[in-house]
């Protein structure tokens, strides 16, 4: 007798548990306002990344096309993956030959966005930008030269 009662109890509790489950999903289908889908390319205008989001390394240029990079290679040393390559040139400053930045080469394809180069920079010349649409059709396009053509170092940065 007991087993018979248990048999029906099992069925009852089994069905009840199924109905609680159905209620949860039923709640969501009747509340379409709770839909959380973001339609990405359509919402590009309103989509705003968080300010700290690490998308890629950029060299900060001001409106006079001047940057703060001295070419000290601190970021190159700090980078774990060889993402950053600093190519130097020799410039004359007051008659002395001084090392200066020629090309700031940045291999985006190797970058892991760890952000170690940013605190390593003694002159705060680089920062992480919020961009995230990095897809290109050719891998070589991911290798970028960050200092803009014709740009030069700001006065007073050593």
């Amino acid at each position: 007798m007991k087993s018979v009662v248990n048999y029906f109890k099992e069925i009852y509790f089994g069905l009840r548990s199924l109905i609680t489950g159905l209620r949860v999903t039923g709640h969501y289908i009747t509340h379409p306002k709770e839909i959380i889908t973001q339609q990405y390319p359509e919402n590009r205008d309103t989509l705003k990344m968080f300010e700290r989001f690490r998308g890629e390394v950029v060299l900060i240029h001001d409106e006079k096309n001047e940057h703060r990079c001295t070419g000290c290679s601190a970021c190159e040393v700090a980078c774990p993956n060889g993402t950053i390559e600093i190519i130097h040139k020799k410039v004359d400053v007051d008659g002395r030959k001084v090392k200066a930045l020629d090309k700031f080469v940045y291999h985006l394809q190797m970058c892991t966005m760890c952000g170690l180069c940013i605190p390593a920079c003694p002159t705060d010349a680089i920062k992480m930008a919020n961009t995230f649409e990095h897809a290109v059709f050719d891998r070589s396009k991911l290798t970028k030269i960050l200092n803009k053509p014709g740009s030069k170092i700001m006065d007073g940065i050593k």
Binding site: F13, G14, S17, L18, T20, G21, R23, V24, T25, I36, M49, F50, R52, F53, R54, A78, P80, T112, M113, C114, G115, L116, P119, A120, M128
Partner: protein, 372 residues
Amino acid sequence: MEETITTALESQEYFINMGPQHPSTHGVLRLVLSLDGEIIRKVEPHIGYIHRSIEKMCEHDSYQQIVHLTDRMDYLSCHINNEAVCLAVEMGLQVEIPERVKVIRTIIGELTRLSSHQLWWGVMGMDLGAITTFLYGFRDRELITDIFEETCGARLTMNYNVPGGLMFDIHPNFQKRTKDFVTYFKKKLPEYDDLLSNNVIFRERTIGIGKLSKEDAISFGVTGPTGRASGFSCDVRKHYPYSAYDRVQFKEILRTEGDCFARYQCRIAEMWESLSIIEQLIDNIPEGPFKAPTKAVIKLPKGEWYQKVETARGEFGVYIISEGQKSPYRLKFRSPGFSNLSALDHMARGCKIADLVAIMSTIDLVIPDIDR
């Protein structure tokens, strides 16, 4: 000789390659199953498909650079992995860490654990055929990744810790967002119970499946919720408190059944504990610097250090042998998934294929963590 031939002929066993591309191996794990009908006679894991020799890379990297590599091991509890390396290096350097850092690390660590468990819950449901849970798990996880993105700058591989402290201070919105999340998630967690924990089909699928005794759990080195479900008290947060775990109240969740359902319950209960830890700390973040002063080039003295932390999967250990250079001489990551996986064969023998899927998802394997 004749005997072996006859047994080989009589046996109904056949082999199946499960993986490396299979929906429920959660990555590139390959299992060679010996099957008799649907019953599993032997499971042989073949790993290493994404072995990146992180340990070898660490032998050439500076200590700051090592931290970001650990993101790529157990990517679901990356913050806790980072913390382990940082704690080990800090132990070697003998620097005193500001209180603020300890508390923030603990909060973010618990958030990481929550997000990992949410993903596990979703995937567990999906492995058992309830695809909707997957989306619900990700829905709640999204809020945590938002918190991470705002404060740490990335959603998954956060790399927020540096030896000596944090990379930058918490975002002004951090506390508010976290509190919002805690209130939100407290409402959603009972839904998890409604959908899976109390569901009769789910219970039938998990209760009594994949049993692991306490002795076996210890012998196999199975830690984390998987080990604790077998009654192996192995919560590093409780036994060897690090960061701010010595000042918060929380229970170590222990079960004795050791089956899939016990492991499931362990993780669900851990989510409640994590929520309570966050609630205790979120209003009490002490003021102060977010980083202890360290040198730009860290050189550990000669010696060796072992630091273990509790990730979402179990005991994660970092073992550094230093010869006084700027890179470690040897660095070993004791990953929880690796040991937990070794017990899979023991748990799965005699089960059906469908049970193997349930067992695998309750072990909560993350393959990069195993392969390193």
